[in-house]
């Protein structure tokens, strides 16, 4: 449409260090800077976790059933994290994702929505959840982009009010889904793969294409890396920022549908602390919190690392407190490694 970001360093899992040019010297550096290289560390970490899983739990860890358990757990938070990757790459942050998931799940399971859905089609519940999620995202986006509210504060306000609104709508009760076709569709599986996992895979692929293969993606890198330069290059920064928040809201709507299918309920307590899990997964995936660099593959690996960790701990009867410590260590190590790579990259 309008002017392209005037540089070509944005590529697979890309880096966009503003609008400047980037020199490439050694093949090694090229490797560590390519997404495959950056993700290599994550893949190694995941393999290491799997080795630990196999060593301590054997076939219990390696069984197909267990794999599906890990993937199902990863699915809901994974979809949220993919949305989060866009916002963080675009230089923002969204603290309200968990609350938006809760609000979408509640709104889509009210008696009124369910009655209409039972009379017509469960697609009503799906569209309600997605619309509510996107709507919240649009509000966030407008506040951040046009209201000049700091993303941290704008989404913090959304965190509080969306969950409050969810409590008001649900009257703080858990709403049970009685529309069986909905539960059967999303709770079922295709060729032995649970529907939730398929949705996660579809969202991940769509996210990857959107971020790495479209103008939208390139603008996201540009806006996150250097908004002023992006503006000068002809990107409508405000509009693009607003769209990023709408996108994460949309992902929250999808996650709400998945959580509704998983629990057969809508509740204002759903999605508690998802913002932290999502941010953690995005950051260890290699997306820079300051924006300008982001990778969907890394985020997916980040989510898988955390869910596999949780699974290995459960299989071995270890406490969740130890798990939290391990989680913290992984985040610190991942960020330290990121900094090393970033520093090495900046040396001419």
């Amino acid at each position: 449409m309008q002017a392209q970001v005037p540089q070509a360093t944005v590529q697979d899992g890309g880096t966009a260090t503003g609008v400047g040019s980037e020199k490439r010297t050694s093949p090694l550096r090229t490797l560590t800077h390519s997404s495959a290289g950056r993700n290599l560390g994550l893949v190694l970490a995941l393999i290491l976790l799997c080795v630990v899983g196999f060593a301590t739990a054997g076939d219990r860890f390696g069984s197909v059933d267990n794999l599906m358990t890990i993937l199902r757990l990863a699915s809901v938070i994974g979809v949220v994290s993919i949305g989060m990757t866009f916002v963080i790459t675009g230089g923002g942050i969204d603290l309200s994702v968990g609350a938006i998931v809760a609000l979408s799940s509640v709104w889509a399971t009210t008696l009124a929505t369910q009655t209409v859905a039972a009379d017509t089609h469960w697609i009503v519940m799906v569209s309600t959840a997605v619309l509510v999620g996107t709507g919240c995202g649009v509000v966030n986006g407008f506040l951040v982009a046009y209201g000049r509210v700091v993303p941290f504060i704008a989404t913090l306000a959304m965190l509080a009010s969306a969950r409050g609104l969810a409590e008001i709508i649900a009257n703080r009760r858990t709403q049970i889904i009685t529309v069986r076709p909905f539960v059967e569709f999303f709770g079922g599986s295709l060729f032995g793969i649970p529907a939730l996992v398929i949705i996660f895979a579809l969202v991940a692929v769509a996210g990857w294409v959107l971020l790495n293969r479209t103008t939208f993606g390139r603008r996201t890198f540009a806006v996150g890396g250097n908004p002023e330069a992006a503006r000068l290059a002809g990107v409508k920064v405000h509009r693009h920022t607003a769209m990023l928040y709408a996108l994460v809201g949309f992902c929250c709507g999808i996650a709400a549908i998945m959580l509704m299918a998983r629990t057969t309920t809508g509740s204002s307590t759903h999605g508690m602390l998802y913002e932290l899990d999502a941010i953690a997964a995005v950051v260890i995936g290699g997306t820079l919190l300051s924006g300008g660099r982001g990778t969907i593959g890394g985020t997916v690996l980040g989510v898988l690392i955390f869910t596999t960790l949780s699974n290995v701990f459960t299989l071995n009867n270890l406490s969740i407190s130890a798990q939290s410590v391990a989680k913290g260590l992984i985040i610190v190590v991942a960020v330290l490694m990121q900094q090393r790579f970033a520093n090495r990259g900046s040396v001419p």
Binding site: S63, T69, L259, T264, S267, T314, L315, N317
Partner: protein, 353 residues
């Protein structure tokens, strides 16, 4: 009521409390259980001596409960672990607490994949965990539901419940007794997490008992079982009501915060009735110089009872003190009032908040 407490406690000990409820559930008409055990050291200390306690086939039991973010919940898991420790034939797998239903579902899925012999589940949200519990039952793994009920009868083999409605009734009745026929008494209620059916049941019981003696709940606030939320809710309440005669606080963990708020306000024109039965509240009741005059027990040994039931179900044994040869579907524990007079009987089973 207090003269009934000792035998009731014994019934707690042998995990067959509220035989009345059982009678309804099983069609059994007898409500006088044999007094077995006889330990004075609290609910989880001594197994009742009987053939059920002889080591049988080793069973693997999966246990999952919400995050131990308050004392009662911490004690649930601790008591369950201590109970399993006593039996050589129990191998307990504890998937430790989480308030994320999605994660708790995956824990139960792991138990199913692992083909454990039984699952004891205290769900964060009963309705949300119903599908996965049903899946476990369909896979042939008996599920013992503790405290927060599932939506479907197909989701659990047996259910251990505290008497939430009864707690409200006990608290309301005690407050009625204390206030006598004082007209227009101001009665306040500090509830727990409002979205949980257990909170709604407690409030309903409280309201019904008060209505019975011509009183009603004048002020109601809700906290979240945590100290910090109790402080916040109580501060709001004290602001809202310039004069109060009695307060029922649903939960002694949040009660620490409630008492802090009351202390800060310097008010003392009312008395407080607690809930759940924590050790520090019981000690305050015992001291006699606290605003807390009583607390209503909500047994923190439910998880431990769940473990025992799971073991019996998995080993195909019956509850020895019942004539019935199968484990009952539902066991509802009693909610007695602890006052200065009988506090010593309950101190040993109290939990630390």
């Amino acid at each position: 009521m207090s003269d009934r407490i000792l035998p009731l406690k014994r019934r707690l000990i042998i995990a067959t409390t509220a035989v009345l409820a059982l009678g309804v559930a099983t069609g059994c008409t007898s409500n006088t259980p044999e007094s077995a055990g006889g330990s004075e050291n609290g609910g989880t200390d001594n197994a009742n001596a009987g053939s059920n306690d002889e080591t049988g086939d080793t069973v693997t039991i999966g246990f999952s409960a919400p995050a131990a973010d308050h004392g009662w919940m911490a004690q649930i898991t601790a008591a369950a672990e201590a109970e399993a420790e006593k039996y050589d034939d129990i191998e307990l797998v504890v998937a430790e607490g989480t308030n994320d239903v999605s994660l708790q579902i995956s824990q139960v899925e792991t138990f199913i994949n692992d083909k454990v012999d039984a699952i004891v589940l205290l769900p964060f949200d009963g309705a949300a965990l119903t599908p996965v519990a049903t899946k476990a039952m369909e896979a042939g793994i008996p599920v013992i539901n503790v405290d927060r009920e599932f939506e479907s009868p197909f989701a659990a083999r047996a259910t251990v419940l505290g008497d939430n409605y009864g707690m409200g009734v006990s608290a309301g009745t005690y407050i009625c007794e204390q206030l006598g026929d004082k007209p227009n008494a101001v009665i306040a209620e500090i509830a727990g997490i409002d979205s949980l059916p257990l909170t709604q049941d407690r409030s309903q019981g409280f309201e019904d008992a008060l209505n019975d003696c011509g009183q009603n709940v004048d002020n109601r606030v809700a906290a979240e079982f945590t100290v910090e939320s109790g402080e916040r809710a109580a501060s709001n309440l004290l602001q809202a009501a310039p004069k109060i005669d009695a307060i029922w606080n649903h939960d002694d963990d949040q009660g620490v915060g409630v008492m802090a708020a009351i202390g800060n306000s310097g008010r003392d024109e009312f008395f407080v009735v607690g809930g759940a039965g924590s050790r520090n509240v019981m000690e305050e009741i015992k001291s006699g110089d606290s605003l807390i005059k009583a607390t209503v027990i909500y047994p923190s040994t439910q998880g431990a009872d769940g473990i025992r039931l799971a073991r019996l179900v998995a080993q195909d044994k019956a509850l020895e003190d019942l004539v019935e040869v199968e484990i009952p579907r539902e066991i509802k524990l009693y909610a007695p009032v602890v006052t200065e007079e009988n506090v010593d009987q309950f101190l040993p089973t109290a939990f630390q908040s």
